[in-house]
């Protein structure tokens, strides 16, 4: 299978990349790992007239911990997350999700930022980022002038917009990224006492999730839940943040009954479709069971019981 013809550009600096996007962003698709984009181009679901390969840009392949955030650069591959010491010591949810993204060979090329930008509702990272309350850093040549500072919870820093993940993800395959912008990194808030877990049901390795559940919990010094994140994969038209469940968890002491209640809320909130991976009813059931498990695991890690 062959994609439609396209022009290929492989700039070697971010400056050059931003100029190209400013000039002809409308006709450009950015190629990072390409593990979703190239298959879509081969099926001709995507027909960009220009492919902008960012793999030669320096400095975007780093995972770093600083200034209250863990940052994941645009060229960080799924397997970089699997192998990262920063992630294994600082973010339990990302560490638990990374090995379940696609398959080991796809993980060598596919990127975290690319997966979020693609926003397939069956993608794992968008749920993880929703549960963590991540922010997407979108950089453009126009920088601040082009946008309204402070609108819709967006913050402006330098030539970049810092977009809260729930405002970045608009709908299936749709984000609030402007054609002149590129995601340069995703920022995940650091935490003192917290834990997280990703539960994924898949028919085989490399398949999309039948159901995925991302849970993140933080505890205060009285062992009450101070922050909760819960998001679901593959069971709605978009990755689904279960705000109602998050709210009922905050301020409470972690425990089986509480998690069972939150799991019922998640079950009721999701809108799965019946398909080859299972009936809607089955998926709802799995959402409930996996939410309970993910929260219990997250809570155990938060309380210092590494699993």
């Amino acid at each position: 299978m062959y994609p439609a013809k396209f022009d290929y550009l492989a700039p070697e600096s971010l400056e050059e990349t931003l100029s190209i996007l400013a000039e002809r962003g409308d006709e450009v698709k950015i190629l990072a790992g390409g593990q979703s984009l190239i298959p879509m181009m081969k099926l001709r679901f995507a027909r960009p007239s220009t492919l902008l390969d960012i793999n030669r840009l320096p400095g975007l392949d780093k995972i770093e911990s600083s200034n209250g955030h863990v940052t994941v650069g645009a060229l960080v591959r799924h397997n970089d997350v699997v192998r990262s010491d920063v992630i294994s010591s600082e973010n339990a949810l990302m560490a638990s999700a990374a090995p379940w993204v696609a398959d080991p060979i796809v993980r060598n090329l596919g990127t975290v930022c690319g997966s979020v930008a693609h926003h397939d509702p069956e993608g794992d990272w968008a749920s993880v980022m929703l549960a963590l309350g991540a922010e997407v850093v979108a950089t453009s040549k126009e920088g601040t002038e082009h946008f309204h500072p402070g609108a819709d919870g967006e913050r402006i820093t330098g030539g970049s917009r810092v977009i809260p993940i729930d405002r970045f993800l608009v709908d299936m395959f749709t984000t609030s990224l402007h054609p002149s912008e590129i995601i340069t990194e995703i920022r995940v808030p650091r935490y003192e006492r917290g834990g997280g877990n990703y539960q994924k049901l898949e028919r085989k390795i490399g398949d999309y999730a039948t159901v995925g559940v991302a849970a993140h919990l933080e505890l205060d010094d009285q062992d009450k839940i101070s922050k909760a994140g819960l998001a679901l994969t593959s069971v709605a038209s978009s990755n689904l943040k279960v705000t109602e469940a998050e709210q009922m968890l905050v301020g409470e002491s972690p425990g089986e009954e509480l998690f069972a209640e939150a799991a019922k809320v998640a079950r009721d909130a999701c809108e799965p479709a019946s398909d080859v991976r299972g009936s809607a009813e089955y998926k709802r059931h799995v959402v409930e069971v996996y939410t309970r498990r993910a929260l219990a695991e997250a809570s155990q890690i938060a309380q210092g019981g590494e699993s």
Binding site: M1, Y2, P3, A4, K5, F6, D7, Y8, A10, L31, G34, Q35, I38, P39, K42, L51, D53, N55, A102, D103, P104, I105, V106, N108, L109, I205, G206
Partner: protein, 158 residues
């Protein structure tokens, strides 16, 4: 577009369309047909080659992306005209039946051994989980990769 790709230690320069897939560049332009095409949809892994030492599915990479980089295909496994430990192990332990997935399995196996010289049964199964063997000959593939790891360790300590 003119690209130069180092394949199995030799630089190859060619004029390719940007949409030319790496697997077709390897098979049709370079005539290295040990790299196979299976599903053509990033699922089966039989087109796996090493890009700068890392396994990638060459049906999901454009040849232009490999410009200035190094590729290893199954043809590059042989060392000084002799079978490499991974090839020897697949032969000894019956690690192949029809042979279609074998080039990819050996490349993934050799990349695993490079990273983890003593992989457990689980480590091997995890590493090859992006590669399908439709003969379902997984038991002997795992055995072969572990035997190659053992042979490589012995070779290194000898």
């Amino acid at each position: 577009m003119n690209i130069t790709v180092n394949v199995n230690g030799t630089d190859h320069t060619a004029d390719v369309e940007p949409r030319r897939l790496l697997v077709d560049f390897i098979r049709s332009t370079l005539k290295l047909t040990g790299t196979h095409i299976g599903c053509d949809t990033t699922s089966c892994g039989v087109c796996t080659v090493l890009l700068d030492g890392t396994p990638v599915k060459s049906c999901t990479v454009f040849a232009v992306q490999a410009n200035g980089r190094s590729i290893t295909t199954v043809e590059g496994l042989k060392q000084n005209g002799q079978l490499s430990p991974i090839q020897e192990a697949f032969k000894e332990h019956h690690g192949l039946q029809c042979g279609f997935c074998t080039p990819a399995m050996m490349l993934v196996g050799s990349a695993l051994i490079e990273e983890n010289p003593d992989p457990s049964d689980d480590d091997v199964r995890w590493a090859i989980s992006g590669n399908l063997c439709r003969c379902t000959g997984y038991m002997n593939i795992v055995k072969s990769i572990q035997a190659a790891a053992a042979a490589t360790r012995e070779g290194a300590s000898a």
